[in-house]
């Protein structure tokens, strides 16, 4: 297998079969360092399955996922995170019982102290450095004035922004976004896109799964089109947009 020098994530010949269903067939994907790589496709194309294989939630039937020269297959979610991979879920996964600030401080602890470390001697209130870091991350996503709220009381759009702050504070090398604007109002979608554009310039590699064409074409450097568990087209946004196979399979000529 020939790697280009700046490939940070390589999904190599991955197949995933569920009973009687070939969910992913012969997936080969190279994500370049610092780029935003979008994976699009109609419902049931296997997008979520692919993402779950990448983060180790599902084991591939064959093939491997390689991140930064290390095989991710078979690793646990917390190990994959500690290697520098953060994930935004389709439904925001936050800590509803904690305050907004604590929500962001928690991943900062994971980044600083590793997967397991008991800190009992110093009260949380004395962790001034981490608190400042968390406040910066919240200011970054425009939520600093909400830092003392209970996270459960936030709107869906704010929960998504909070989840992004929780991922960004870890300064991950790879950020995976699973339909970051799913189920959002137009307004929330637009603020999320603005936010993603803002962090795009930071050189963080991103893999984004998305339904919303508006989101994809305004963010992606490269697009892979998934249909029926196979990659049917791949390339720059403009090339993909013009590809007749893609129009047939997915866009339905609407664009």
């Amino acid at each position: 297998m020939q790697y280009s020098n700046n490939t940070v994530l390589h999904v190599a010949d991955v197949h995933k079969r569920f009973a009687g269903l070939h969910a992913l067939a012969d997936i080969d994907l190279e994500v370049e360092e610092g780029k935003t790589h979008a994976i699009i496709g109609p419902n049931g194309a296997g997008k979520s399955t692919l993402l779950n294989v990448i983060v180790g939630r599902l084991a591939p039937s064959s093939g491997a996922v390689v991140f930064d020269g290390q095989v991710l297959t078979g690793k646990k979610p917390h190990e994959i995170n500690q290697m520098g991979v953060a994930r935004v879920f389709q439904t925001p996964e936050i800590f509803p019982d904690l305050s907004v600030l604590q929500n962001v401080m928690t991943p900062a602890f994971a980044k600083r102290d590793g997967a397991f470390r008991i800190r009992m001697l110093n009260p949380l209130a004395n962790e001034a450095a981490l608190r400042e870091e968390a406040e910066e991350a919240l200011a970054d996503v425009g939520m600093i004035e909400r830092r003392h709220l209970h996270a459960a009381s936030l709107s869906r759009g704010d929960k998504r922004r909070l989840e992004l702050a929780m991922c960004l504070i870890q300064k991950p090398r790879l950020l995976l976004l699973d339909e970051p604007t799913a189920g959002m109002s137009r307004h929330d979608t637009n603020t999320t896109i603005e936010l993603l554009k803002k962090i795009k310039s930071r050189g963080m590699t991103k893999v984004i799964i998305e339904h919303d064409m508006h989101v994809v074409f305004s963010l992606a450097d490269k697009i892979s089109v998934l249909a029926g568990g196979r990659i049917i087209a791949e390339g720059a946004p403009d090339a993909v947009r013009g590809d007749p196979r893609v129009q047939e399979a997915y866009l339905g000529g609407a664009h």
Binding site: L98, T106, M120
Partner: protein, 380 residues
């Protein structure tokens, strides 16, 4: 020193709590509860509940087998009396360590599951311990007769310093006997230590991790935390609290029976925690005190006393009232407990502490309303 440092409101809470606990013999007198045996129970079961809450209140893992650690603590303490010395300190240290070892083993297996499966696993382990104590382990536990001190115990350390006396020895601390009020103050001081450690856990980053595990375990692992060792640590800490409580039960009454490990005892600490308020610092203590107080009152009632209480009613009515109420007292006091529990869970799911919070915010609201009314009338 970092070890002793706490946020200010916690320091105030601790000071108030210490005063309340240490002045128990005074303020419990009007309730007729200021005798050492009962106050010892108040302190011991408060320790048990505070420790249980570190697991259940923070991580959300509901253990139905914590009485096993209480029993292990009691047996270990009595064995320490029998083999080494009647001094309470080594007995309590052994009790805490031994229950910690048991908690490590049981927790390691049980924490592979969560929710109802975790609860069932802990319950199974506790019932297993209970049945083992009655059957194959009788050489260690003395089965149904319960483990007791005898005159022939080796007590190797004590025997180096003193002659064997005729009567059974009783537990002591630094050579001072621990009868009555002395026993209470030992339990009270240990309750304060236990409460302080719980405050440290609640205020620390570790406590926040445990809350985060309760809140969203999926996010926790995708955030880079290995959640199981965190939960296991909480499990072991709460098991050690239970062991300390069990050890103190043996110190105040040097005897250990297997009934201490029965599932009803495990259920009782769950009730105490929920009744007082899960996840709060003070709630489990209040729950423990309330249940032990009610148990003391209601289980002591008998039909004769009921007749005396209701003697002002007409004869026929009195008999009916006594016949009904007698089901709720004495042996049947668990019926009262059940009713109280149902009422609390239905109307105050956050326990007594939620009631306190509601009253406090209602009072604050009324004060605010009055203030705004004054200011508007002043403006007119």
């Amino acid at each position: 020193m970092n070890v002793l440092r706490l946020p200010r409101q916690d320091v105030i809470l601790f000071a108030v709590f210490a005063i309340v606990v240490l002045t128990m013999p005074i303020w419990l007198t009007p309730f007729g509860a200021a005798y050492p045996g009962l106050m010892q129970k108040f302190a011991i079961f408060a320790i048990f509940a505070v420790g249980f809450n570190i697991l259940f209140g923070l991580t959300g893992y509901l253990s139905f087998g914590h009485a096993a650690f209480l029993g292990v603590g009691s047996y270990t303490a009595v064995w320490s009396f029998k083999l080494f010395t009647m001094d309470a300190i080594p007995a309590l240290i052994f009790a805490v360590l031994m229950s910690g070892v048991f908690a490590l083993g049981i927790g390691f297996v049980s924490l592979r599951r969560s929710g109802i499966y975790f609860a069932i696993l802990t319950l199974a382990f506790a019932q297993m311990s209970y049945n083992l104590a009655y059957s194959v382990l009788t050489p260690i536990t003395n089965g149904e007769t319960a483990l007791q001190l005898t005159n022939n115990d080796p007590r190797v350390i004590d025997m180096m310093f003193m002659e064997r006396t005729a009567g059974l020895p009783s537990p002591s601390i630094f050579g001072q006997p621990l009868g009555g009020i002395g026993g209470f103050y030992l339990c009270a001081v240990l309750l304060l230590v236990a409460f302080f450690i719980a405050q440290k856990v609640f205020a620390s980053p570790f406590g926040m991790m445990l809350r985060a595990i309760k809140s969203n375990q999926t996010r926790m692992s995708y955030t880079g935390f290995n959640t199981r060792p965190y939960a296991l640590t909480a499990f072991v800490i709460s098991g050690m609290y239970a062991g300390l409580a069990g050890g103190l039960l043996a110190v105040t009454d040097p005897l250990a029976g297997a009934e201490r490990m029965e599932w009803t005892a495990s259920g009782e600490v769950v009730l105490m925690t929920i009744l007082g308020g899960v996840g709060t610092l003070v709630g489990p203590v209040i729950g423990a005190w309330l249940i032990k107080y009610l148990e003391n009152i209601f289980s002591a009632f008998n039909e004769g006393m009921l007749h005396a209480t209701f003697s002002w009613l007409p004869d026929g009515v009195e008999d009916i009232v006594v016949a009904v109420t007698s089901k709720f007292v004495g042996e049947g006091w668990h019926l009262t407990l059940g009713l109280v529990f149902v009422l609390i869970v239905v109307f105050l799911p956050g326990g007594i502490m939620e009631g306190v919070r509601r009253i406090r915010s209602a009072v604050a609201n009324r004060r605010d309303n009055r203030r705004t009314r004054f200011s508007t009338s002043a403006a007119e």
